[in-house]
Amino acid sequence: MSGAVLDPTTSPAFPMAAKAAMGDTQLRKNVRHATEVIQAKRARVVGEMPDWQQLREAGKQIRQHTMENLDFYLEEFEQNCTRAGGVVHWARDAAEARQIVAELVKASGSDEVIKIKSMTTEEIHLNDALEAAGIRAYETDLAELIIQLGQDQPSHIVVPALHKNRQQIREIFQREMNLPELGEKPEDLADAARQFLREKFLRVKTGVSGANFLIAETGGVCIVESEGNGRMCLTLPETLITIAGIDKVLPRYQDLEVVLQLLPRSATGERMNPYNSIWTGVREGDGPQVFHVVLMDNARTEILADEEGRQTLNCIRCGACQNACPVYRQTGGHAYGSVYAGPIGAILTPQLQEMHHAQSLPYASSLCGACYEVCPVKINIPEVLIHLRNKVVKQNGLNTESLAMKTMGMIFRSEARFRAAQRLGRMAEAPLVRKDGQGEGWIGWLPGMLGGWTQVRDLQAMPKETFREWWESRGKNGN
């Protein structure tokens, strides 16, 4: 999987990509271990909050209110950010956003940038565009650095290198940093990354960041992180360019009270993030003297227009749904063919593609509901998945599956047809039924798409007497 660009327009369908990913036993072991550790930490710090459900509800209300009034809050943010000395740019789509950022970097007089909080920039493949424009980008988030040096792709929105274990990270550092003697203790690896990055922090004059939240009331931008590398990127450069989806806005500074409790507990199982940075415009003699914000739509407006899909935009990118998902647990993130993997990716990616691509993603779920249960802003992911499945069905029109479904729909609408179908079913299955040691009939092979079932499972034959037949033969009250 390494190196393959996560692009929903070219990625294989989920079942195929999942099959490939599941052949990598090391990856599956790493993903299982990491998600279990994070889930246990999350459960501990969520369990100590008596008002967790009320907090979730508050988070949902804040996000929902924001989305319902997004135009108002975005303009309020623009005014306040501008007043504080920032420059706000609007990007309709990924191409516009890439172009604006590349031009701003060039205008800053630099041909290299340090980066932090990169998921939105991954969404639009910014690094490739910068490289094409002759600009070198250095990822400074430890996990993103591992991904970049390993020529890999992020597999998780909060822990992008979750699919790599310590030994694999050590090998990447040994090779790419030319440190053949590097040990594998966490402090060895952290020290190597520190040495490697410190030089970039001190040299590079331009920073590019994402954002966790944009605060409309003040025009401020908020980033939370664990390492302090973000703080370096936000304070040391002369020019700072922040790129954020228009969904990242919050109405008031006070709303951080809610989201900064929900986010770290859900994301990394911490009560608070070690580094919480909020900056508002520019201040003379303190930090970057030029500050740009690129507000990017890239199909978010279309999602907003869809009443049932809209709640997708409430996401605060904690990744709890990824850690809780039994599908993600088996496949890891790359199989989703997008920087947004797991349950949130399964609903966000197809909508960001306006349903033209990634049609298999809404089906990459057993609808078990574990994602909804842990979501800090109560996004009903199973409900949105079903909504998107309906869109896929409408787009695809007639095919074998839809014909079978329509036929079954007809059967279910009539008692006579239902009874006939039960009789026919028994006749149709007869050639496939084999008796087992107990004399029970079982099917061990099914044709076509149903063969997916019999790869690892048998199917019990229909009973000689159905419940309905038994019920009708026994008379009232079993007499």
């Binding site: 088996q330 057993s366 078990c368 079954m408 087992d436 790869q455 009708e472 009250n477």
Partner: protein, 221 residues
Amino acid sequence: MLERLGHTVEFPAGQTCCGQMHWNTGYQAEALPLVARFVEQFKGAEAVVVPSSSCVAMIRDHYPKMAAEIGDARLIAAVEALVPRVFEFSEFLTKRLGLEDVGAYYPHRVTYHASCHGLRNLGLGDGPQRLLKAVRGIDLVEIEGLEQCCGFGGTFAVKNAEVSSAMLAEKTTAVLNTGAEACTACDNSCLMHIQGALHRQRTGVKTVHLAEILAGEEGAR
């Protein structure tokens, strides 16, 4: 079992499917007519007892919205009146009737699988386990990863057969680790799925619906 408790049980012959398969796979147009059919079949009942947690979740979570989408005021009112009387089987016993001991006898080692819809959509909690603990002769053993999905998910099992199989493998391993003779649940679809692998692997472990255990009587059969 319900008759043993003194209830009159009826089985409306015209009932077919709640529409869950169609709805969850994206075939909303096919699922919608089944709402009116369900209401027509069951509207006269004092309580509708459903031996499948996912069907109850379908009815409870989606029927009101579906009726609203159809836009028929009479259907909306009928759904609103009927849905509160629809119970999952174990829920009917524990919440509606307030029972734990239903006088059952089942001398076997059993483990309980909490189906996702029962656990998360219906909030059954430990109701089914409390019913099982009261069964005479039973040796109830807890399964590891109780809240983990078995990987069925309706059409998911064939559309994403590989992932589903891997999820199922974790579940059957957990079942086998308990040393149980039988795995029980409140949802036959999960049981069909788990049973499919237990049979393929010639484990000899059976799956039985909770109702089959609670129906067991000492001296019977």
